[in-house]
């Protein structure tokens, strides 16, 4: 058994005196067995250091949970889809308002669409429907033609005078705007 075998690790760690270190160095240069052992000890030391580093890295690193990238990807995908297809957005349903008595009355007075009865005016004015073409609003409107004699006492409205009442009805059935036009 080699006499220097017990001092190889101390020599590796620079723990020997100068004289001892020089003696071990001379021996190692000529002893294949000691060189082989030295290589093994160095390898174990390096592996041990790497193991300690791995332990520290494993315990001190803040790992990102695996579900975080998946969630982030899903959020990005949904965002891109919404931007690419804005019409695909689901809009909440509009609130439904119960019609008021005025709205119900307006619907009751609405004439049947067909066959439409021709109103014979005693005042000899042009039919309301012909003039209404010029002021039809953009939104759907309900046209109600009421003879003057049905609203005013006889003689209150001079013959030949005609006017149109524009009445806007809100969602709740109340009258929002009333305008009289000749």
């Amino acid at each position: 058994m080699c006499d220097f075998r017990g001092r190889l690790i101390a020599w590796l760690d620079h723990e020997l005196s100068q004289d001892e270190a020089a003696a071990v160095k001379r021996h190692v240069e000529g002893c294949r067995e000691c060189r082989s052992r030295l290589q093994a000890y160095e390898h174990v030391s390096r592996t041990f250091d790497a193991y300690c580093d791995a332990a520290m890295a494993a315990k001190t690193s803040r790992r990102v949970p695996r579900w975080v990238p998946a969630l982030a990807g899903a959020v990005v995908t949904v965002t891109v889809l919404l931007l690419a297809f804005p019409s695909a957005r689901v809009e909440p349903p509009r609130p439904v308002h119960a019609p008021t008595a005025a709205a119900i009355a307006a619907r009751v007075l609405e004439p049947a669409p067909a066959p439409r009865k021709k109103i014979h005016r005693q005042h000899g004015v042009a039919p309301v429907q012909n003039q209404a073409v010029n002021w039809l609003p953009a939104e759907p409107a309900v046209q109600i033609a009421i003879p003057a004699e049905a609203m005013f006492p006889p003689g209150a409205v001079p013959e030949g005078i005609n006017f149109i009442a524009e009445l806007s009805i809100g969602p709740d059935g109340s009258a929002e705007r009333v305008r009289l036009r000749p």
Binding site: A10, S17, S45, Y51, A54, A55, A58
Partner: protein, 179 residues
Amino acid sequence: MSDDSIPLALPLLRFAAGSSEVTTLYRELRKPLLRYLICLGLSSDEAQDVVQDAFLSLQRHLAPGGKQENIRGWLFRVAHNEARNRQNSYHRRFGEPLDAETDSLVEQATPEHAVLEKEKFRQLALAIGLLTESERACLLLRAGGLRYREIGEVLGIATSTVGDTVERAIKKLAEKCNV
């Protein structure tokens, strides 16, 4: 075996009680201390607490003109004693908690290298588990860069005993790891 130790690369002779020197020491020794404590079995949070406490103790030690020799060994000794006080953590064996966690290291390598590294660490973990507590502590302090004399001061054993213990531990690991 010589009893003299290589002087630290720290300006210990000029070391004063000022906080700047402690900060310099903190930057230099924080990582080796953390590694030592984590490898002893402490969690990352526990290890960081112990390191901070150790440096606070150092400042209190130096403020009234405490001994300025071998500050590195002094810090490791304080940290080692604090770790021993945390009995629950200390009794976790060194090799046990690392077996699964070394995956984080091999994830960065190629698949072939990862397999080899993992197998190497697995064998080493088994071998470390067979070491005595003193052998593990000596190897950990040696891996932290401490000289045999400093290791002896930390563990309260003779320098010659440290040499024998380190040699015995390295030979055990080399034999078990087939290198």
